[in-house]
């Protein structure tokens, strides 16, 4: 049956293959590019044709630009059809889509099934609170101001997870290579201190 437990993934940011995921917040495109680096193989990025924001080739991480296929369908129905078709294609590794409207339950479920059929990973970049129930995980991504001059901080919060726990990470990723650093947040301690030995 399909309900076998999946093997534990490599680290916190690994997206399950054959599943749909969602990312929201200002840093969602950064998160999508971070995931693009971790998926080897052809990438498909689907934007509405009138979207002003375009990926800029010279700013993309190394090796992503030549694998990227950009689709600009004219309407919402075409966009969803493109997502489904791309998810069903086996060699595609990651499909990133930016729909205008929140996905309906039917659309979300269809995309989930398509991802399962093709064994591809889908990442939907959504507006705030426009998520769909069928998604496997949902990430809230925000860029963070950093005190150091050479660090680019990101705050990635896992707000929904069907097969695991939630989490919140501060990550220093410079947007060029796959390497990243976890940053521990400074905070006031609320648990009692360890007794001195």
């Amino acid at each position: 049956m399909r309900m076998r437990p999946e093997p534990p993934s490599g680290d916190a940011f690994t997206l399950h293959k054959g599943r749909m995921h969602e990312a929201e917040g200002r840093g969602r495109r950064t998160f999508a590019l971070f995931q693009a680096l971790r998926h080897l193989g052809p990438l498909v990025w689907i934007l509405p044709s009138h979207a002003p924001e375009m990926p800029m080739l010279r700013g993309l991480p190394r090796g992503v630009g030549e694998r990227l296929h950009l689709l600009r369908p004219a309407g919402e129905a075409d966009l969803l059809w493109c997502v489904e078709e791309a998810l069903r294609t086996v060699p595609v590794s990651l499909v990133v889509a930016e729909p205008e409207k929140p996905l309906s339950l039917t659309a979300g479920r269809r995309l989930q099934l398509a991802a399962e059929a093709g064994g591809t990973t889908g990442l939907i970049l959504i507006r705030q609170d426009a998520g769909c129930n069928a998604t496997e995980t949902r990430w809230a991504c925000e860029p963070l101001a950093s005190t150091g001059a050479d660090s680019t901080l990101h705050h990635w919060i896992l707000t929904k997870n069907k097969k695991g726990t939630f989490g919140s990470w501060m990550v220093n990723w410079n947007g060029a290579s796959a390497a990243f650093h976890m940053v521990s947040e400074t905070r006031e301690r609320y648990e009692p201190a360890e007794p001195p030995r």
Partner: protein
């Protein structure tokens, strides 16, 4: 005569530049049609056709009837043409350019003797030299001794004379027909079911793909024309992301188009053609997983392109420009191959780029705080400026404001933005105000 001289004589002269490409296409079409008068038809210069009609005239009732038939048909088509029939190619060429007619069997010398020597396909210098010698007609040349003629005017003249008189063989060189990639099928009874059309299509596709394989070609566009019983025609056309001749994969792309057609009272003829083909070398079947993945990706691009349009399935290609908008081009993925991005040098670039948006309430250089998209941002750190000058050889309306000084602004709110200032442009509210715009967002 030069055009200027002609205009001087007749000021109302209407002139039109020659369209050589269309003329040669028209001649090629006429050559295909002329195949009804003989199996071997070749072009003769840029304005003539030469057909070998050996053994054909009796089918038309004799040479004269054949020529009448040809002239009548050309006249009906609106073409003014002169035709001639002779025993040799040279004689027919000469006669057709000097009035036309028929030279009877074995009377070549009498038939073309009255024509000027220029009719012999000799070059201008030889013709002038002959005229200086007083040899103006072909009949003057025939009785002359060959050796002095060849020594004086070159072997070319003697060769042309021999060819015209039949002493030297000269076959009609018909160029091979360009392969035509089209197959058709007519049905005894009309069909209307989608499955029937698809079955007919798959039979046609097998034949078309065999033909493509013989010529080592792959189709880039495939067109299916369906003729209905009421004489209406429906057409379904698909594009392919790369040259292909696999019947099953092409048939899959037709499924949507066939689903949408209106068959009304039924379809009784199918015609399948490949209007656009490209060279495609034979490839080994059942290749490794890499080949299968390439095929699957090409199929995806084909089906996406057929639904949303091939100009919307894009790829980012690097371009040689420092202007951010022109540092990459969006080109159709079906007609390009991926190129690796050039080595990254210089300052960082944003991950997303959008048309410049005006920033409000900016003061200072770089601005200490500003408003953009109804949000207030405070600058934490600014890197720059990087000055980019417009490319003077292009007149880009977006760059008419002159130089741009680009800054990477890290805000305390989080977003890292790409702002620029146009120092050469006058501000909206006065000469003191500054024009700040946002054009991109960094990772």
């Amino acid at each position: 005569m030069a055009l200027a001289d002609a205009r001087a004589i007749c000021p109302e002269l209407a002139t039109r530049p020659a369209d050589l490409a269309r003329e040669s296409t028209a001649l090629a079409n006429l050559r295909r049609w002329a195949g009804r008068y003989g199996p071997m038809v070749g072009t003769d210069g840029v304005d003539g056709l030469m057909a070998d009609i050996s053994g054909v005239p009796h089918l038309f009732g004799g040479e004269e009837d054949l020529r009448d038939d040809l002239q009548a048909r050309l006249e009906r088509a609106g073409l003014a043409a002169v035709s001639a029939i002779a025993g040799t190619r040279g004689a027919a060429h000469a006669l057709a350019r000097h009035g036309g007619g028929i030279v009877a069997e074995g009377r070549l010398a009498e038939g073309i003797g009255r024509l000027p020597v220029t009719a012999l396909r000799v070059d201008q210098d030889t013709a002038e030299a002959l005229a200086r010698m007083g040899l103006s007609r072909i009949a003057d040349l025939i009785p002359l001794p060959r050796a002095p003629l060849a020594r004086r005017f070159g072997r070319g003249l003697v060769l042309r004379l021999d060819q015209a008189l039949g002493a030297q063989a000269e076959p009609v060189a018909a160029e091979p027909e360009a392969p035509h990639f089209g197959v058709r099928m007519t049905l005894p009874d009309p069909i209307g079911l989608q499955s029937d059309v698809m079955a007919g299509l798959s039979r046609l596709l097998d034949r078309l793909c065999d033909k493509l394989a013989v010529h080592r070609k792959g189709a880039r566009r495939v067109r299916l024309e369906l003729r209905r019983v009421d004489r209406g025609t429906v057409q379904v056309e698909i594009g392919l992301a790369r040259p292909m001749r696999d019947p099953k994969r092409i048939a899959a792309l037709f499924a949507k188009g066939v689903d949408e057609i209106d068959s009304s009272f039924g379809i009784d003829a199918l015609r399948l053609s490949a209007p656009l083909t490209e060279a495609m070398a034979p490839e080994q079947t059942g290749g490794g997983p890499a080949l299968r993945h390439d095929d699957a990706l090409a199929d995806l691009l084909s089906s996406l392109g057929n639904r949303i349009g091939f100009d919307r399935v894009l790829r980012l290609l690097p371009a040689e420009s420092l202007i951010p908008e022109r540092s990459f081009v969006l080109s159709p993925a079906a007609y390009t191959i991926p190129e690796p991005a050039p080595h990254r040098a210089g300052t960082r670039r944003p991950i997303t780029l959008f048309p410049p948006e005006h920033v409000a309430a900016a003061c200072g250089t770089p601005p200490a705080s500003f408003r953009w998209r109804r949000m207030r941002f405070t600058t934490l750190r600014a890197t720059g400026p990087e000055r980019i000058t417009p490319e003077w050889w292009f007149d880009d309306p977006a760059w008419r404001s002159g130089l741009r000084d680009y800054w990477r602004i890290e805000t305390t709110e989080g977003p890292r933005l790409w702002l620029f200032l146009t120092p050469q442009a006058q501000g909206w509210s006065g000469p003191e105000a500054q024009n700040w715009y946002v054009q991109g967002e960094f990772a």
